[in-house]
Symmetry: C2
Subunit: 227 residues, 2 copies
Amino acid sequence: MRAVVLLSGGLDSYTAAAIVRAEGFELYALTIGYGQRHASELDSARRVARSLGVARHLELAIDLRAIGGSSLTSDAPGFDIPRDRDVAVAADIPSTYVPARNTIFLSLALGWAEVIAARDIVIGVNALDYSGYPDCRPEFIRAFETVASLGTRAGVEGARFRIHTPLIALSKAEIIRRGLALGLDYGLTHSCYDPGASGAPCGRCDSCLLRAKGFAEAGAADPLVLR
Amino acid sequence: MRAVVLLSGGLDSYTAAAIVRAEGFELYALTIGYGQRHASELDSARRVARSLGVARHLELAIDLRAIGGSSLTSDAPGFDIPRDRDVAVAADIPSTYVPARNTIFLSLALGWAEVIAARDIVIGVNALDYSGYPDCRPEFIRAFETVASLGTRAGVEGARFRIHTPLIALSKAEIIRRGLALGLDYGLTHSCYDPGASGAPCGRCDSCLLRAKGFAEAGAADPLVLR
């Protein structure tokens, strides 16, 4: 069976894809270049897709910088990447939130899924060690499944789309342990929101800090840091 | 109050925008170039946006030809534009259906709405004299409103997004009568799915036929045909 998996080039989507692959799905990877500051993650997505042996890797471009409203897509005042926050307690929605991003990504995945007769879509959202994003919550995912079944020809004909969120209840450490057990090479991935010109992780953004905390709690070394 | 209106360059979205403008909304028009066969509708969208006096007209590009699955975005075998159908009785979903198009469009409108602090989104869908598209039905629209409120920062903070569908229960003739009463110039619009090199409507696709039927039932002349 085919599954469309949203693959960002980060650690979470790589692990989510591998989990679903281990369940027997054939992977159709979708990567979306949206004008993100950390566009180097697109290279990681290509490496990860190759490593996963996906049946196809589709890249789509939609320039969300025209919409802005996020420190990942805008340089406007007030949109700085948060640094050195205590990610264990930070509860507000940070400036790295991209308005409606997962709704946009899931809708594109849905369109492709319908065309290739897939009924399964995979997204590496995580409601525990995450960044406070509203579009990573289970109630959002369930609501999108309803939209998917009502808004498509396949749905009208009786299909029910399922959004797989294998990481939604896992901590970052549990995600990493799971991935390592599946033999994943996290050296292929990219997590930093704001890498320097060298491509090296900044080590201070929420994404770097969550990743470091996850590896530490998992008792594992991050191959990106070792390099 | 601001409203984001999805403006295609066609008759329906023009009328929907004008109705909402008459209710006192300030219009932020969003037009999406998705690789559609009838890309000349983008010129119409610019003319219509100017005529409506929108506060801003944002154009985004997302190439849905990479996904295909529709006669509007694919030249693959089996994807011909239907012609000369009896649109009064045609009940199946035609090949012009674009997988998940309105979900994709609404999600982009949602992202922009959140950024400009609009809580109102306008889409000219029509559940009566339409083409059988699943993503034009009221139950789909209601489901998307739920997604919008669950999947955004604004929603988490208590905002409720409303998707306005002022045409949803109108026949094409009623839409045209309403628009003419509002002083709209339908000569600015474009409806044909497959115009020739000259840009002239083919007169035979579902969209041309529904338009002709609408003008006939409204007892009005189509300025596009007069030209």
